[in-house]
């Protein structure tokens, strides 16, 4: 499975036409969402959208680190979805501070923010934090605002049963 993901990441790098922006920070551009979904197809993933200028997002990041410690079955992908605003070095620093720098991390790298959001979820207007729970069967559940981790636990439990 790991090789499959790695292959996906390699494909993504080729598709996006650029290397990671900073250490392990992937540029999120047009088509990246499809690539990301394909790379993890058939596996339950949690994609968390956040941004540096979003106070509640920054406050919440350590909660995700705690959730990762608690749940080995949580595959967390973080996307800094600031509309082309965040400086990669600062994003990496914030992730490091929260202990999330070793997760799969992306950063919006195309100022056509409407297009990126539309590809991800046409109903999403850019409010953050925003989290998509993507089930083993590909079913997507959107959750706006800071995470209710009890709900996340329940969702992960259901995914386990479905496996």
């Amino acid at each position: 499975m790991k090789t499959k993901i790695l292959a996906g990441v390699v494909t993504l790098l080729m598709l996006s036409g650029s290397a990671a922006i900073a250490a392990d920070l992937h540029p999120f551009v047009r088509g990246s969402w499809k690539t990301l979904r394909q790379a993890h197809a058939g596996k339950p993933i949690v994609v968390h959208f956040w941004g540096l200028t979003c106070g509640p997002c920054l406050a919440e990041l350590p909660n995700w680190t705690a959730a990762l410690k608690k749940r080995a079955d949580l595959k967390l992908i973080l996307v800094d979805a600031s509309p082309f605003g965040d400086e990669p070095g600062e994003v990496t620093a914030a992730l490091k501070k929260a202990g999330l720098d070793s997760q799969e991390n992306w950063l919006f790298a195309d100022s056509f923010e409407e297009r990126l959001r539309f590809e991800i979820d046409p109903r999403w207007r850019g409010e953050m934090p925003y989290t998509l729970l993507i089930g083993r069967d590909g079913k997507v559940t959107g959750m706006t605002g800071i995470m209710d981790f009890k709900k996340l636990d329940a969702w992960l439990d259901r995914q386990k049963k479905a496996s």
Partner: protein, 427 residues
């Protein structure tokens, strides 16, 4: 392909497009006065830029701007504050945006500009031709910001060294500037002094506060800042209008009951007495997060308050318009704007005698368009949706400016550059 190679490829395309544009639009050469629609150059920089267009290039000219804020001065000249590569500039036009003056840098050095999705510089001009500019910079790693202010007393030839607008060091963002009918300068912003004070007592403080200050001497000094209302939302732009010589009306996203981020309005009784808060609509958007989309307000000559906003509430989702004819005490039933299947954002409203325009941005999966509706009876009835402008790439928020007679769309797009488009004003 490496980033560098990709940049070069795009750069060539940009140059080609620039040449084509120059030919088709009949512009030749560039002197101190540059042509308005400047084509983009350069590639896709990787982060660290402002939002809006993302910045097509890094030169000190309007065509490279990420965000552009317009205002029409009492003498009819168009003034723009814009940012390129973390610097703020001002330029103006005396022919409604056909030609612009050489930009003047407000921030000679790069600053860490507040690049939140709803943040931008503010600009206002008074009857004496004094030009006022404010912008916010991030001052620490927690993205607390400080609002700076600069003014010109020589018709925009030079600007004063920027200084903090506010006599408090906590954090300020989303400042708006407006000249009142009696000629005073009103500044309002979202202030986090309450958060700092609460933290010292080991308490929490939801959101921010709506704060304000006045300058009665053309921007030389400001009154001490005051808090108009505690616990507003902290991440959205503010809309400002006037309901009398020195009575501001402010519309903003509030935090109701700790979690509901719906819109509210304060109509001042006099310069320093905010009236009771009125809720624009009960959308019931429960969100422990940042909507990143603030409202817009226009007040007609007949005194109607026109408000547009964005919500994802339980009661309704999308963009909406409502008006109040009793100073905000009651609002009409929200009217939905745009196609629900499209991504709709950034509504803006403007009013002149006989005409009210609403514009917003709508993305259909390929193109972003600025759509609008117009009313000639102060918001009672509205035209069908009209498409005003279009682009195929990144763009800033659409904004409206008016000279008291005519409303114009101000829109910066990455591909086409800056556009200032007169909107129809006859029924």
């Amino acid at each position: 392909m490496t980033i560098v190679r990709m940049k070069r490829a795009i750069s060539r395309g940009g140059l080609l497009r620039a040449a084509l544009l120059a030919t088709t639009m009949g512009f030749a050469g560039a002197g101190a006065l540059a042509a308005a629609p400047e084509a983009p150059m350069g590639g896709m920089p990787m982060g660290g830029m402002s939002h809006g267009t993302g910045g097509a290039c890094k030169d000190a000219r309007l065509g490279c701007a990420s965000t552009v804020t317009p205002t029409l001065a009492p003498d009819g000249s168009l003034w723009l504050a814009f940012d390129v590569d973390n610097k703020v500039y001002v330029t103006h036009s005396t022919d409604r945006g056909r030609r612009f003056s050489a930009p003047v840098a407000i921030t000679p050095e790069k600053v860490h500009l507040d690049n939140g999705p709803d943040a931008r510089s503010a600009i206002a001009v008074d009857a004496q031709g004094r030009v006022f500019v404010s912008y916010a910079i991030f001052k620490d790693n927690n993205y607390n910001a400080e609002v700076f202010f600069s003014r010109s007393t020589d018709q925009g030839k030079s600007f004063s060294a920027p200084r903090p607008l506010v006599d408090n060091t906590a954090s300020q963002r989303f400042a708006a500037l407006a000249v009142s009918p009696n000629g005073d300068l009103f500044a309002t912003w979202l202030d986090k002094r309450g958060v700092v004070a609460a933290a010292k007592k080991g308490k929490t403080y939801p959101g921010a506060a709506l704060a304000y200050a006045w300058s009665k001497d053309g921007g030389a000094h400001f009154t001490p800042s005051r808090i108009a209302l505690d616990n507003t939302c902290e991440c959205c732009r503010i809309g400002v209008g006037f309901n009398g010589p020195d009575q501001p009306v402010v519309v903003f996203r509030n935090v109701f009951g700790g979690t509901v981020r719906d819109h509210a309005l304060l109509s001042f009784k006099d310069a320093n007495t905010p009236g009771p808060m009125h809720r624009v609509a009960v959308d019931n958007w429960r969100l422990n997060g940042c909507p990143h989309q603030g409202p817009s307000l226009a007040i007609s000559s007949a005194g109607a308050y026109h408000v547009v906003w964005s919500t994802q509430g339980d009661a309704r989702k999308g963009l909406f318009y409502a008006r109040s004819t009793d100073k905000g005490a009651h609002f009409s039933a929200p009217m939905t704007l745009g196609n629900p299947d499209h991504e709709r954002s950034r509504p803006y409203v403007g009013a002149v005698p006989g005409t009210v325009w609403i514009v917003w941005k709508e993305f259909d999966g390929e193109n972003s368009v600025v759509n609008g509706r117009v009313s000639h009876d102060d918001g009672a009835r509205w035209s069908p949706v009209r498409t005003v402008a279009r682009t195929e790439d990144a763009s800033d928020h659409p904004m409206l400016a008016n000279d008291g007679h005519k409303i114009y769309l101000s829109w910066m797009t990455k591909m086409e550059g800056y556009r200032f488009i007169p909107l129809e004003d006859k029924p």
